[in-house]
Point group: C2
Chain length 435, copies 2
């Protein structure tokens, strides 16, 4: 629900939060887990504001959170967001209100030492992620990928009936900035005789991650599911296409995805996103309606999130020559065929237990138009039409040394733009074999 915390007139005494185009204005207040560089302290929860972090542990020591229930204050003093996630949206709303009271221009200024410049900290995974699930919710992505691998039946018959997903690997989720080692693996060689070698078709996929707030031990209704969304982040589902093509039948992707998944360290909370809700995907007349368990009026009118995502790349050669990164694509979460609420309802429909901190990813965010393809597989038609970089370089897939940077933001007339920060990783050469 819209409230005073979304007021575009709000300004912060942290001046960098008031710059037009800042990712973290006072209307955003994303949560992350950080530690001062070089410190050995336990990680702490912080709130992004301009180019600073409000240290919630220190804020609590200074008595700035006194108006909040004890459970919220205790959860805010932990080293992951899981405690806050478990408390639910009501508590998060209380916290947001207090943070605005502290950080707005005439607010109860936090003491200086409760603020830390973001450039002075390392940021960790925001949560202890129990299980990670990856969806496949862009029909444009699914169709383009299907045309490459299954030209006769690009879109599987179930696609328009259920949000397709598979379980991913939580142990290899890393925060933005972690270098990504090129994986080795089996790929198809001559005549179905495989070879084991470093992947020659390393790709990224730009996705949005959805963190589960309060858990669920039984099926959810569409009305309930919105209440289980804690917040969103950016996610790069690094993919080794050659390994994927050989291993994925009949049980789905495995090693082609489980070597690394990068998330942005900041979680943009559910309430911060209220001004940026959008209708669910506009199905055309020929499309089937979802079954009743995946439908609600709210979802149809406002189940989507209007989050813009973009991807850029900077090669090693570009870095050496001082060239800036080049934009590769720009898309929107608005274009996904399924909403996060539908993903949650479908996920829990079997009785599958969802826990605070579990992560759902949307699948590659790709739109209908050229320039909105969220991975190289789509953009280069599986490598057939490489993209051009400055200085004569081309890319069918990623090269060692490439830095892939994803960004996301929401903007809408009458509201303050909010950003997600960066989700970034640099590709390292494969490890040498040791037999």
């Amino acid at each position: 629900m819209l409230n005073d915390t979304h007021n575009p007139g709000l300004r912060s005494w942290v001046e960098t939060a008031n710059s037009p185009g800042a990712d973290f204005p006072i209307q955003n207040l994303p949560l992350g887990v950080f530690r001062r560089k070089g410190s050995a302290d336990a990680p702490r929860i912080g709130v992004g504001i301009g180019d600073q972090i409000l240290d919630l542990h220190r804020a609590s020591e200074l008595g700035l959170l006194e108006a909040l229930p004890r459970a919220v204050v205790e959860a805010a003093a932990m080293s992951t967001l899981n405690g806050l996630m478990a408390l639910g949206q009501g508590s998060m709303s209380q916290l947001r209100r207090e943070l605005v009271a502290i950080l707005h221009a005439n607010g109860r200024r936090a003491e200086p030492d409760s603020l830390v410049p973001i450039e002075h900290v390392e940021l960790f995974l925001p949560a202890d992620i129990g299980d990670y699930t990856d969806f496949y919710a862009s029909i444009f992505h699914a169709t383009r990928v299907g045309e490459i691998f299954r030209p006769k039946n690009p879109l599987p018959p179930n696609y328009k009936h259920l949000p397709i997903a598979y379980h991913g690997r939580s142990s290899s989720i890393v925060p933005s900035g972690t270098p990504i080692r090129r994986p080795s693996g089996q790929t198809r060689g001559e005549g179905d005789q495989p070879v084991f070698r470093p992947s020659e078709r390393l790709d990224y996929e730009v996705e949005i991650g959805v963190f589960v707030g309060t858990g669920a031990g039984q099926p959810l209704t569409m009305a309930e599911s919105e209440g289980h969304i804690f917040g969103l982040c950016l996610l790069n589902d690094w993919s080794a296409r050659d390994i994927q093509a050989w291993e994925s039948q009949p049980l789905g992707p495995f090693l082609s995805k489980n070597f690394a998944t990068t998330v942005s360290p900041w979680v943009v909370t559910y309430e911060a996103l209220v001004p940026f809700r959008s209708p669910a995907f506009a199905r055309d007349g020929g499309d089937p309606q979802p079954l009743p368990y995946l439908r609600s009026t709210f979802n149809e009118t406002a189940g989507g999130f209007d989050v813009n995502v973009n991807v850029s790349l900077r090669s090693e050669a570009m870095r050496m020559s001082g060239a800036e990164s080049v934009a590769l694509s720009a898309g929107s979460l608005r274009d996904m065929y399924w909403t996060p609420a539908q993903m949650l309802v479908h996920h829990a429909s079997s009785g599958c237990s969802l826990r605070p901190g579990d992560l759902l990813a949307t699948g590659t965010v790709s739109g209908a138009d050229k320039g909105s393809e969220g991975c190289l597989l789509e953009m280069t038609q599986n490598g057939a039409t490489p993209i051009r970089l400055p200085d004569g370089e081309t890319r069918a897939f990623l090269a060692d040394g490439d830095v892939v940077t994803m960004r996301a933001f929401c903007e809408r007339a009458g509201y303050t733009r909010i950003g997600f920060g960066r989700c970034e990783g640099r590709v390292l050469a494969a490890v040498a074999r040791r037999d």
Copy 2:
């Protein structure tokens, strides 16, 4: 390596451990996590011996573990096995030696209150399972299932080159005895128009679970991988075949598997299994050799585990009439096409991080012969030829009220038989829909 702890002449002062056919003789010493029924204490690690549990926390208080390194004693006082898992096989071997010293017939008898009858406790999951991976390692299972769903190409072209696997759901792993709610989900209706309803094809799959001991952050060699096996348990990969058939393309099983996975609460340790190692699957002349990263001389001669598994079923009607459960199948882990060491090496080959307590399951343990099929899908040819139960009942798939019980044991001439205990679950009716 075989040592004094495997001596078949060893007897325990816990007399029930000496009965022929006991699952937990002194040569076994499986580890579990328990609490006295009705207690609110933190769960404790215990060792199964006959029909008793040696309470390691209490044993430590009584000074019985004084000869062990401090790290082992501290890990043994935790509420999950993860600490012991992280310490590795050397520490586990030290612990095993001390346990034999305490429990053998002329040993340092534990004080009476360090022993608790198993029937007086509840048993929990043995570990905090970070990630769960399910393999597909029986070629007999894969072929029979393939003949049902892909008659033209029953065995995928990659099958003999890599141990196929997919990521499962760790949040829904439950210990033996937990009731299993029949899942609802989308299944194919008339003309590809799906319907949402309780699964009509609920099945079990008998598998062996492999717990990861020390973790790995980079690829492993075959020589290294054996050292990362902590121990084995029984596992039931409950499966909803109708949901599976509709959802699994293109990204694999999801809701058809993630509603519940049952594990036996006891972990039979790596060292207890030394006498029961067996050669890897004997590939026939036409089969390709695995690629070098999946090969070692040790693996060929002793990479397998000769673990017998069997499944029995007792329906509600049988329970009411007092009939005992009926045997459905009996197979052996010896018959798997891939060994646990090969599964670990393949899993880590991408650089995928493995953590202490991660669980790998082998996939359905099925052999070549009739009577060795490890699930109803195979046994009834997808429901076409139902099996007969006493009193005229038949089963194509599981009915509400059915109790599925899995057991496993190892036996070999010259060694003492060891057992895995039970992996059991009763099917409850589906939850009613709430829209």
